[in-house]
């Protein structure tokens, strides 16, 4: 097995193929703090790609409530459990095993085939909070408690009985496990944009990718009898337009762009800025080893250990930089949800956040503060 460098782990790791990065890598930042769990993204995707027979259970984009929600059910806890106790980060380097390194004998990756019933109830336990105390030594109030209302403890500023929304599409991984397990080699990464696709001609529906994707984002279509997944709306991306789910996001939590590894970061590229410079965007379950390319601004009040488990060792910094943003960071955050065009570069002035397209043309200008307008006095506010 060749060794590839996974910057999210801070180390090299095993991967079945040579590590070749695409010319550009599709990426997005999802700011969990802003998410309102409205599922507009979900419906945007559904109405574009998965409205046909055989796709009734299929939601390429979903938003689930953590900790109990999950589509498919328990997709993450299943893998975490199998990866076991060795998931340790030391000084920012992942010392545990990835799903490639922990693969059982004769398999490329550690994975589990999700049974049919786990794709039902795609949004179960929405808005359901944890009923388990964070500290197991606390007097256990059983399965639920209601008295813990202090959500701003100066020592441990978290909400103990938390929940939050996790927005999920295919991660268009740099090292996709779906691609590595396909017996047909029908899953590939596009060199021009890094989008990972299942060749609908070549796929024969073995469902190895359904098993092999630790994020549960390869789905089987019983009518076409092949597997499908999020295609990052490439017919739009090819025209410089953001994906349907990102364009739909009414919470203004999503921003799409291109990401480089940290050492090649372009400071005025929004993704590189948010992930590598402002450091407010973290990968999802980096320990899986896929180098996924959807990045998250972690939710500010959720217990840290739960977030470390999900986003790795950058959580504290990300939250700090998010709630106390620099002027530049605040500016970049204004660009979320303002245009349907892909913002390639940005500039932040004293008053405005400006986005540019691939040719350096200004495509959007957002004032950091809204203007205050006063009209002639016969117009009335009191009406």
């Amino acid at each position: 097995m060749p060794m590839v460098y996974n910057w999210q782990l801070g180390r090299e790791m095993f991967y079945p193929f040579e590590g070749v990065r695409p010319k550009k890598q599709f990426a997005a930042v999802f700011n969990i703090n802003r998410c309102i769990g409205c599922q507009t993204c979900t419906m945007a995707c559904k109405s574009t790609w998965t409205f046909s027979k055989g796709q009734e259970h299929m939601w390429w984009n979903n938003v689930e409530t953590k900790p109990y929600g999950g589509y498919p059910h328990f997709w993450d806890i299943a893998i975490l459990k199998m990866l076991g106790d060795g998931q340790v980060w030391v000084n920012g380097v992942y010392k545990g095993k990835t799903i490639y390194e922990a693969a059982p004998e004769g398999k490329q990756v550690l994975g589990v085939l999700k049974p049919e019933e786990d794709w039902r109830f795609p949004n179960w336990y929405q808005d359901v909070s944890s009923g388990i105390r964070q500290n197991p030594l606390d007097k256990d109030a059983g399965s639920s408690f209601t008295t813990h209302a202090d959500l701003e403890d100066p020592v441990n500023p978290v909400h103990e009985n938390f929940f939050y929304y996790l927005q999920r599409i295919c991660n268009h991984c740099t090292y996709p496990s779906c691609g590595s397990v396909c017996p047909r080699k029908a899953i590939y990464k596009r060199p021009e944009d890094g989008i990972v696709l299942i060749d609908q001609n070549r796929c024969r529906g073995y469902r190895e990718c359904v098993t092999g994707c630790p994020y549960g984002k390869s789905l089987y279509n019983p009518v076409t009898r092949v597997s499908e997944k999020c295609i990052a709306c490439y017919p739009r991306v090819e025209q410089g337009i953001i994906t349907r789910c990102i364009a739909a996001c009414v919470g203004k939590i999503r921003l799409q762009g291109w990401i480089k590894p940290p050492e090649e970061a372009i400071p005025d590229s929004p993704m590189d800025y948010l992930a590598h410079i402002a450091k407010i965007a973290l990968p999802l379950y980096p320990q899986y080893g896929c180098e996924g390319n959807i990045y998250y601004t972690p939710p500010r009040w959720v217990p840290r250990a739960y977030q470390d488990q999900m986003f790795g060792p950058g959580v504290d910094t990300a939250i700090k930089n998010y709630i106390h943003p620099s002027h530049e960071t605040l500016g970049v955050m204004q660009l979320f949800g303002t245009t349907q065009k892909i913002i390639e570069r940005f500039r932040i002035t004293e008053k405005d956040a400006i986005g540019f397209d691939i040719n350096g043309r200004e495509i959007i200008r957002v004032p950091i503060m809204e203007p205050f307008i006063i009209r002639p006095s016969f117009r009335q506010n009191t009406s």
Binding site: F17, R34, P122, N123, Q334, N381, T382
Partner: protein, 1163 residues
């Protein structure tokens, strides 16, 4: 190779046939596929040989054209969306990203920060437009048709009820628009005649309607409630109740139902033969009061209907406090403005019983016992006052805190009380306000105690802000003073502030924590945040509006803002945010459309809207009365009349509010019956009195299921004549047309009104009926829209045709952007729209004094409490409620409404609510769902799958009524104590005295239909006694229950209408009932008219009227069936150990984040 999606599916389907014969993967080579050119893939993350197949998805994505339309359900947003059309079909919807193109006539341009708006509902609208529940034809209920054809035999005769009025059970007849309009017109004429004059009055008396209601059908157009001495007879048209469902969502077609009321004056003219001045129109039902959307205390404090700042102003706030408002879930297109506070150094605080989606965003969350918010905030005011955290300057300049109150009468001290021959000062600081001279005399001038002179000093309603500064008076806020009245009495007076200082002291920290259950240390934290952070914005909503004492909640929250000076400034103010109620936003602009004088019409299309002749024949009525039945009197609808031990029969509904009997209903754009609190009671007790129930809509809903006539109307993407809408949450006005041809035989609502008028013209020979809708009939209804814009103070200057051509939205031209309510009052020192011109925290009208609510006090909820319902929790001697002698034991809801007794908390604490004692121990929160707007989208397939824990497109469990179902969130411990598992079906029963309907009996077929059964979902976010069930689902009907019990697949879908229920049995309204709050039915409260700047008193539409309060419900929960498939076992997921309430060690480890360890330096 070019592969289209269709070819591809075909091939794939065919390939499947051969699949079973295949060996292992490496030998794959399906004959049916053209072999891919290069079969060897070296490194799939580097390159891939043949990518021609990628055309598949490009082809799926293709579309022919786009058009813009507005998605206008009642959610305040009116999002302008883009529809993509392929082969004439709207395939999907997209955000428009065009706010940066929205302008006003002054050259102001909106910013792209408003992009995007439009939520999952707009994005799934194709599932409704092309969905199975569309109303495809105009339909008439067979029994009703027979009744009309039989010549209207007495509908009250039991045999005729049996024969003709089996609503919800009869089959339907498909008819043309023409036929339906003719039948409706004929029936209108019949009913108008039947209930007009002395004969009509006699009929109504015999039916048991109170004299006050019948009497209210007299009067004249100028002052609908004051009897016109010339008018000796009642007008039958007053029994028509038309509801312009959410009027602001359709400034033309929907609100056109008010015009429809106005034109009925012609019918009255024909029927009673009285001159135009004595004619009356039909009545139009309210909207937002009845939805519980309004904050009824706001007009009590400000005189203004509501005080909502625009959403972009939320971002300016530094302390943003949500009280019973789930902003995150409810205000989706614009919630980001609030969320962005966290990036801009502001604090978010949530007060709500449960850990809500908004609590998850909050810096801190205060849990509160449902309905006890007023006590909590009186406690907070106590800390603000005690620690002197209030803004003294603001308090003196803009509030009634310095005004003196008389200890003897509890009324405000007037200058004329103490100065002999005092003449009220001439008012000069009016701004746009219009005040009748007699009111000005009645109100008089108020008095403060001046610390400079140590004497009383007169302060007029002009004297606010800088006007007050000029007086040179420095009023005392504290202390007790003696004054001599003109009749020689020496009386004690106190400033309002002093009274509150005394009263709030009763709500000390221990007491408040005990009443509210709020953690003690968080109460001072919030009080000090209020006192030290500026600006502060408070928002409430349905969460707290849905309690009986919703006005007290508003008043106390206003007190917090009045004390701390957080009014009239960016980032400050008090909003409630529910509903697109704000027809007032265009001032008096609607009148040329809704109230054009039908006897004096303008048929010239070029006339300025300001020059159209207006006469208000249409008469407003609060729909809550239609919804209110009394167990004691047997009244099926009507005012609150109680036989009190102290005074005998007493009417608690003011004359200005008086409802008329209802014989005809016509609802547009609203699933009114389905959404009625106590819906099955309406069905059983009110509907049998009614003769024609009409619904106009584009989907067959629960109300259609029980109607007589259903008109099919076009959806928002199909309308051919322009429609327009504006909002209060965003600053935009939109005008649009549909972009596709109507799929079915549908019209717009106003085209249907016009058609009915057409038939009335035929029946009466009065051509004015026809002319009244001239431009609608000609397909030029934009002429009426232009008239509204001409007359609307914030829209004048716009040209309808330019707007249509521009294909973008426009600014509503309020005084400021963002619209900051109180801008004029605070920044320009203009008086508020009330008696004192100040923010009024004290109420001295006789009703308020009588009910013990002259000061803001905490009263226990009227049903949802473990303690004595409705008791006043206070001791202050200046609260002197009139105890009508209602027994503490009484469980009659009419009685409880008026239980005016006062007790201290240590006594109240030990009192019992008899209902609680009988095992009704769960509160039910009934909030809005993000998946529906009212009931719209309630059964749209994708949303039904996502809305609940049981969404399953394949319906593995055949008991599920659809592909998802309604659920009750419950605390796992509470459920387990009742032997209930996650996923089980339960019965929810409320007070058996009157629910699900008055007169129910065990074993009745109708009881089975009405008794609520639903599934439980475990949710530790809810305290033990608090449960939650979303409101406005599609109810069970006779036909859905029949289907559920007889179909092999058990779908709860009516056989003939296709109506789909979200329940197996009952509805969320099975457990609710109607209430009539005495303080919301006064004739004396001074407030601005809804439209315009005239100040009046008493009832006002959607402003001062009883508000619905569905949270006043206690329920008993009983297990009905096991959750597992077939009811044999527990619901499957419960066995995994990963679900709430059943966590195994792995799940506990997961939740505690113990699978991963971080050592050393963090990155």
């Amino acid at each position: 190779m070019e592969v289209t999606r269709r070819d591809f599916l075909k091939m794939a389907g065919a390939a499947g046939v051969g699949m079973t014969a295949l060996g292992n993967g490496s030998s794959l080579g399906l004959q049916l596929f053209e072999p891919t050119k290069a079969t060897k893939v070296q490194n799939p993350i580097e390159s891939y040989p043949d990518r021609n197949w990628e055309e598949v998805y490009r082809n799926i994505y293709r579309f022919d054209r786009e058009f813009r339309f507005n998605c206008v359900p009642n959610d305040t947003h009116n999002c302008r969306l883009t529809a993509a059309v392929r082969n004439g079909i709207v395939t999907r919807v997209e955000q428009s990203y065009d706010h940066q193109k929205y302008r006003d006539i002054y050259g102001n341009v909106a910013t792209p920060a408003w992009n995007p708006r439009g939520c999952l509902k707009g994005y799934s609208i194709t599932r409704r437009v092309y969905g199975p529940y569309r109303i495809k034809h105009t339909m008439i209920r067979k029994g009703w048709l027979d009744w009309v054809n039989a010549g209207y035999p007495d509908p009250r005769a039991p045999e005729n009820q049996q024969k003709y009025f089996q609503r919800g059970k009869d089959p339907w007849v498909k008819v043309s628009y023409e036929e339906a309009a003719e039948l409706v017109a004929r029936t209108l004429l019949h009913v108008a005649k039947k209930y007009s004059g002395e004969e009509g009055a006699q009929r109504l008396r015999e039916e048991g309607y109170p004299e006050e209601s019948i009497e209210s059908m007299k009067g004249n157009w100028q002052s609908p409630w004051s009897s016109n001495p010339k008018n000796k007879t009642i007008a039958g048209v007053q029994t028509f109740k038309f509801r312009p469902g959410m009027p602001m969502l359709g400034g033309s077609a929907k609100i056109g139902n008010v015009r429809n009321c106005n034109v009925m004056a012609l019918l009255d003219h024909y029927v009673r033969g009285v001159p135009p001045d004595e004619c009356r129109g039909a009545r139009y039902f309210s909207n937002y009061t009845w939805h519980g959307d309004l904050d009824p205390g706001t007009p009590m404090v400000t005189g203004i209907q509501t005080f909502d700042p625009e959403f972009s102003d939320h971002r300016n706030s530094k302390l943003y406090v949500l009280v019973g408002k789930n902003f995150i879930e409810n205000k989706m297109p614009e919630a980001h403005w609030m969320n962005e506070i966290m990036e801009r150094g502001g604090k978010i605080v949530v007060v709500s019983p449960e850990y809500s989606p908004s609590s998850a965003k909050a810096n801190y969350w205060l849990t509160v016992r449902p309905g006890s918010d007023v006590a909590l905030f009186l406690g907070i005011c106590n800390i603000i006052i005690q620690e002197k955290l209030y803004d003294e300057q603001f308090v003196k300049r803009f509030t009634d805190f310095p005004l003196l109150v008389r200890g003897d009468t509890l009324q405000l001290l007037l200058a004329s009380d103490i100065i002999k021959g005092y003449k009220n000062k001439k008012l000069e600081n009016l701004g746009p306000q219009v005040i009748k001279p007699e009111y000005r005399e009645e109100w008089g001038d108020r008095v403060v105690w001046d610390r400079v002179t140590n004497k009383p000093a007169v302060v007029t309603r002009d004297d606010v802000g800088t006007w007050f500064d000029k007086l040179g008076v420095d009023p005392e806020l504290e202390g007790t003073f003696k004054v001599k009245t003109v009749d020689g009495k020496e009386i004690e007076v106190k400033p309002v502030f002093q009274l509150y200082k005394e009263l709030c002291a009763e709500y000390d920290l221990d007491t408040v924590a005990d009443i509210s259950g709020t953690p003690k240390h968080l109460i001072p934290r919030l009080a000090r945040d209020f006192g030290t952070i500026k600006p502060v914005q408070i928002h409430t909503g349905e969460g707290t509006n849905h309690y009986f004492h919703n006005d007290q909640k508003d008043r106390v929250l206003w007190m917090v803002l009045a004390l701390t000076g957080n009014v009239g400034k960016p980032g400050a103010n008090y909003g409630h945010w529910a509903g697109t109620y704000r027809t007032s936003s265009v001032g008096t602009g609607f009148a040329p459309w809704t109230n054009e004088d039908p006897f004096n019409m303008t048929l010239d299309p070029t006339v300025d809207g300001r020059d159209i002749k207006i006469k208000k024949y249409a008469h407003k009525e609060e729909i809550q009365y239609w919804n209110y039945s009394s167990v004691a009197t047997g009244q099926s609808e009507g005012p609150l009349i109680v036989n009190t031990p102290k005074y005998g029969r007493k009417v608690f509904t003011g004359k200005t509010h008086m409802p008329a009997p209802t014989k005809v209903e016509w609802h547009v754009n609203a699933n009114t019956f389905n959404n009625s609190k106590w819906a099955y009671n309406v069905l059983h007790n009110q509907y049998p009195h009614e003769e024609m129930v009409i619904y106009s809509d584009w989907e067959w809903n629960g109300s259609c299921e029980y109607a007589d006539v259903v008109f099919a109307v076009s959806s928002w993407v199909e309308i051919s004549q322009p429609e327009w809408a504006t909002s209060n949450s965003n600053p935009f006005v939109f005008i649009w047309r549909g972009g596709i041809k109507p799929l079915f035989n549908t019209l717009s609502d106003h085209e249907i009104y016009a058609l009915v008028s057409d038939k009335l013209a035929d029946l009466t020979g009065d051509e004015r009926f026809r002319d009244y809708w001239k431009f609608v009939r000609e397909g030029r209804s934009e002429i009426y829209i232009q008239r509204v814009f001409d007359a609307a103070v914030n829209l004048r200057g716009y040209n309808v045709y330019d707007m249509l051509d521009s294909d973008v939205g426009w600014f509503t031209m309020y005084r400021t952007y963002p619209r900051v309510p109180g801008w004029e009052e605070i920044n320009e020192s203009k008086p508020f729209y009330n008696k004192s011109g100040r923010l009024e925290l004290y109420r001295d009208e006789p009703e308020f004094i009588e009910y013990g609510e002259n000061m803001i006090v905490f009263r226990e909820p009227v049903e949802a409490t473990p303690h004595l319902p409705n008791v006043i929790v206070a001791n202050h001697p200046w609260i002197r409620p009139d105890d009508y002698g209602i027994s503490p034991e009484s469980t009659d809801m009419d009685d409880i409404h008026i239980r005016n007794i006062k007790m201290t908390w240590d006594k109240v604490k030990n009192t019992k609510n008899p209902l609680w004692e009988k095992g009704y121990r769960f509160y039910v929160m009934t909030p809005k769902s993000r998946y529906t707007v009212h009931s719209s989208w309630g059964v749209a397939d994708w949303l039904l799958i996502w809305e609940n824990n049981y969404g399953d497109p394949l319906r593995h469990d055949k008991r599920t009524p659809g592909i998802g179902e309604h659920q009750l969130h419950i605390n796992p411990d509470a459920a387990k104590e009742l032997g209930i598992n996650d996923g089980d079906y339960v019965y929810l029963d409320a007070n058996p005295v009157d629910r699900p309907y008055i007169g129910w009996r065990e074993g009745d077929e109708d009881y089975k239909i009405a008794r609520l059964m639903l599934r439980v979902t475990f949710n530790p976010a809810y305290p033990k006694h608090v449960t939650m069930m979303k409101h406005s689902a599609f109810m069970s009907s006779h036909k859905t229950v029949l289907a559920h019990e007889t179909r092999s697949d058990k779908l709860a879908r009516s056989a003939d209408t296709g109506y789909q229920s979200k329940f197996r049995y009952g509805s969320h309204q099975s457990i609710t009932r109607a209430y009539l709050q005495p303080t919301l039915m006064t004739d004396t409260l001074v407030r601005k008219d809804l439209w315009g700047w005239k100040i009046d008193k008493g009832y006002e539409y959607d402003t001062h009227a009883p508000n619905t309060c569905p949270k006043e419900t206690l329920v008993k929960i009983t297990k009905a069936e096991n959750g597992g498939i077939g009811g044999l076992d527990v619901w499957d997921p419960v066995k995994t150990g990963y679900t709430p309430g059943y966590e195994n060690d792995d799940m506990k480890k997961f939740i505690r984040g113990q699978f991963v360890k971080i050592e050393g330096v963090r990155t």
